[in-house]
């Protein structure tokens, strides 16, 4: 950090010296000029490497060992953990659960897009609605888990609300795998809708206003505006959201872990990994599972980018 502060005066002096002499800047100035951006990057890079890449590198290293997470001894086992992961089908069955979250994220994106479009036009109380939609994103995920545990309880909030409408189901919402996964996926829609909504809203608002006026002169309806102006205009953000949703569905964790702990067929791949690492003390195997999940997500993203290339859109 001290280097960056020292740097400031010489950088400020540089343009002045250039003004008087057309010769190339002296060697020292040039070195500083090359170094400056790196010095600024030093702090974030140090943080990034310490807290993101070093642990990942460690995890990859552990994935080739039989470490139990605490023993001072660990043995190199080669690709044994990976062989185990790819030969045990029970480890992959949990990906079926991701299907629920995948379907939920489709609903989530459509709903977010719908609300973002509506609220980008002049609507009464639009700031209020924006707040309402974004609010869940501000609440801590663990708190949400607990709140919804009460919500789905027998005779809990959900049953009470349904009762107001005369519906008395007497259904255990987290009782069967289908019902439990649907409920959990529903909670995750509620939780992440706001984030998608804000992304879409921001993208929509960056579309120049003249386009709407021009299209209105040409007799375009709201649907036409959405289809031919908004949708192409926010395509990059839309693609990004889809990618995030798919990777989010594959690695769903927080809500199911807090609410059911993976019981009753709600175990996701990440919960399974956590259980391997912290219940059965197979840190090596769990690390390998985490690496495999990372690779799967990278692969899915790559396929997606192949199918929907991210070409630049020019609206005007």
């Amino acid at each position: 950090m001290t280097h960056t502060t020292e740097k400031v005066p010489s950088e400020a002096a540089a343009p002045a010296s250039e003004g008087t002499t057309p010769l190339p800047a002296p060697r020292r100035t040039r070195t500083w000029r090359v170094l400056t951006p790196w010095l600024f990057l030093l702090a974030p890079l140090a943080l990034l490497i310490t807290f993101t890449y070093a642990p990942i590198a460690n995890m990859v290293a552990y994935s080739f060992t039989d470490w139990d997470g605490v023993s001072p001894e660990l043995h190199y086992t080669g690709a044994e953990n990976y062989t185990e992961i790819f030969t045990r089908e029970d480890l992959f069955q949990v990906f079926f659960v991701s299907g629920y979250y995948l379907i939920a994220s489709v609903i989530q994106i459509v709903a977010a897009l719908y609300f973002a479009t509506i609220l980008s036009f002049q609507v009464r109380f639009r700031n209020f609605y924006k707040g309402v939609l974004f609010f869940p994103s501000l609440v801590n995920g663990v708190a949400i888990g607990f709140v919804f545990l009460y919500f789905f309880q027998d005779g809990g909030t959900f049953d009470t609300v349904l009762g107001l409408f005369g519906v008395h189901t007497d259904h255990a919402w987290l009782g069967t795998p289908f019902s439990a996964n649907t409920s959990l996926a529903g909670v995750s829609v509620w939780r992440y809708l706001g984030m998608n909504f804000v992304l879409f809203l921001g993208a929509i608002q960056s579309i120049p206003g003249e386009l709407y006026e021009a299209s209105e002169l040409d007799g375009a309806t709201r649907w036409h505006q959405f289809r031919y102006i908004i949708l192409p205009g926010i395509k990059p953000v839309l693609t990004l959201t889809v990618i995030l949703s798919v990777s989010g569905s594959l690695s769903a964790f927080e809500i199911p872990y807090i609410m059911t702990g993976g019981a009753t067929g709600t175990e996701t791949f990440v919960i399974q990994t956590v259980k391997l690492a912290f219940q059965f003390n197979k840190t090596g195997l769990a690390s390998a599972a985490a690496v495999v999940l990372l690779l799967i997500i990278l692969l899915v993203t790559w396929v997606q980018r192949r199918l929907v290339p991210d070409d630049r859109v020019d609206l005007v």
């Binding site: 001072p72 001894e73 660990l74 009460y150 027998d154 987290l174």
Partner: protein, 438 residues
């Protein structure tokens, strides 16, 4: 692009190079000797505990004050860890994990000498203390539990009486009939699984030993199929299955609440839970808070008799140990000795004393009257059982398989009990072969 790749490779390689294990100490085989002169021992020690409640309400401070009357120069600090197993596991990768700590389940028994200082030989400690073989490695003892615990049913006496049952059931069939009577004659939920809290379900593993009254029950787990017909675990799991199957458990197990279940049982809204002696005091406190009679909280053994007597197993709670890296091992040892022998912690918790010559606590008087046979399980195969458990991912000490069992019983999961238990047994015995080479 090219430069970026090179940079990434260099950075990656640099990170991978330095061994990457965060593993701490290699020092091994230290002893924590009991101090000769209490007034001379000094040092600041940190005591790790799971009793968050006792640290918050100042009870632990009171113990420390009592301790200081004998050991004036030792300063005791407490650290309560809410999620003990997970947190201590990370901390034990360093050398800084307190001076006195509870031996976590994750540490393999053979690794004890690498993490803890020995408290003495088994020969000398076994004369005075219970449970020494649970922490003995190569003849040396590494930990001591301040209390003994015994698994059993916590039940509401009033509700059971109202249902017309005054004698403890002696068979599982009798027990089920009792629960049925409660369902018919009272408003109480006959049995509460505490499914959502997960860990209460794991206490069902501690039926092991109570059913067949065999002190070598743990060794049996290590050597055979734990779910063979007539084996302890099978009888226990069968009972749990039948309870849920016959609709004698709570209506929606997936949204249960442990904290709430305490006052509910005290007030008679819940009749029974399979837990242990450690829970009695908590339920009595809940009764006092709810304004109902704490005397209604009863405790009964597993409904099985051998030679006409009930059987109950007495085992250690968390064992306290001294950190092998501690600079104040004498002070730490002094704390463990004092806390075990003189603190009165066992009496305060209505628990069984870890001292061999101490009498049974008052709450267990009905056990005396009924002539319940108390046995201590031989734990020489305990480490092996833990290893098989982890390797096979069966998890007899983890909640998952019993959650599956409950799901199976209430029809949320397809299959039969026999297939389910046979499958577990198959996984277990297959791992047994690879672990022990037998």
């Amino acid at each position: 692009m090219n430069r970026r790749t090179v940079l990434a490779l260099v950075a990656g390689a640099a990170l991978l190079l330095p061994g990457c294990t965060g593993t701490g100490g290699t020092s091994k085989g230290a002893d924590a000797k009991a101090p000769d002169d209490p007034s001379k021992v000094s040092g600041d020690i940190t005591v790790l505990t799971v009793r968050t409640d006792l640290v918050q309400d100042g009870t632990m401070k009171k113990y420390a004050a009592e301790f200081n009357k004998i050991y004036p120069k030792v300063k005791v600090e407490f650290q309560a860890l809410t999620n003990y197993e997970a947190e201590i596991k990370i901390r034990m990768n360093t050398e800084d994990y307190g001076d006195v700590l509870l031996i976590p389940a994750v540490i393999k028994k053979n690794d004890y000498p690498k993490f803890f200082a020995s408290l003495g030989t088994e020969a000398e400690r076994a004369a005075k203390y219970r449970f020494t073989d649970f922490t003995t490695v190569d003849g040396k003892v590494y930990g001591q539990s301040p209390v003994g615990v015994m698994p059993g049913f916590v039940y509401n006496k009033r509700v059971w009486r109202e249902a017309g049952i005054t004698e403890w059931p002696t068979t599982t069939a009798g027990f089920l009939a009792g629960l049925k009577a409660i369902k018919q004659k009272t408003d109480a939920v006959p049995y509460y699984t505490n499914f959502a809290a997960q860990w209460p379900l794991t206490s069902w593993t501690y039926v092991n030993g109570s059913v067949g009254c065999d002190p070598r029950a743990t060794t049996k787990l290590a050597q055979g199929d734990p779910w063979a017909r007539g084996s302890d675990l099978r009888v226990g799991d069968g009972l749990l299955y039948d309870i849920v199957r016959q609709g004698l458990a709570e209506k929606d197990p997936t949204t249960t609440n442990w904290e709430l279940s305490k006052p509910q049982l005290a007030k008679g809204e819940i009749a029974t839970q399979w837990l242990g002696t450690w829970a009695i005091i908590q339920f009595q406190d809940a009764a006092k808070k709810a304004g109902v009679n704490p005397e209604d909280i009863g405790f009964m053994p597993f409904p099985a008799q051998s030679d006409g007597a009930f059987c109950a197993t007495v085992g250690p709670d968390y064992n306290q140990a001294v950190n092998v890296h501690s600079p104040h091992k004498e002070a730490a040892r002094a704390w463990i000795d004092w806390f075990t022998d003189k603190s009165g912690y066992d009496r305060d918790n209505l628990a069984i004393s870890p001292l061999k010559d101490a009498p049974m606590p008052q709450v267990l008087k009905p056990y005396d009257d009924a002539g319940v046979k108390l046995i201590e399980l031989d734990d020489s195969a305990g480490a092996e059982v833990k290893l098989i458990d982890d390797e096979s991912e069966v998890g007899i000490y983890k909640p998952e398989y019993r959650q599956d069992l409950v799901d199976l019983a209430r029809g949320a999961k397809k299959g039969s009990l026999d297939d389910f238990l046979a499958d577990l047994g198959k996984k277990w015995t297959a791992t047994q072969k690879s672990v022990t080479g037998r």
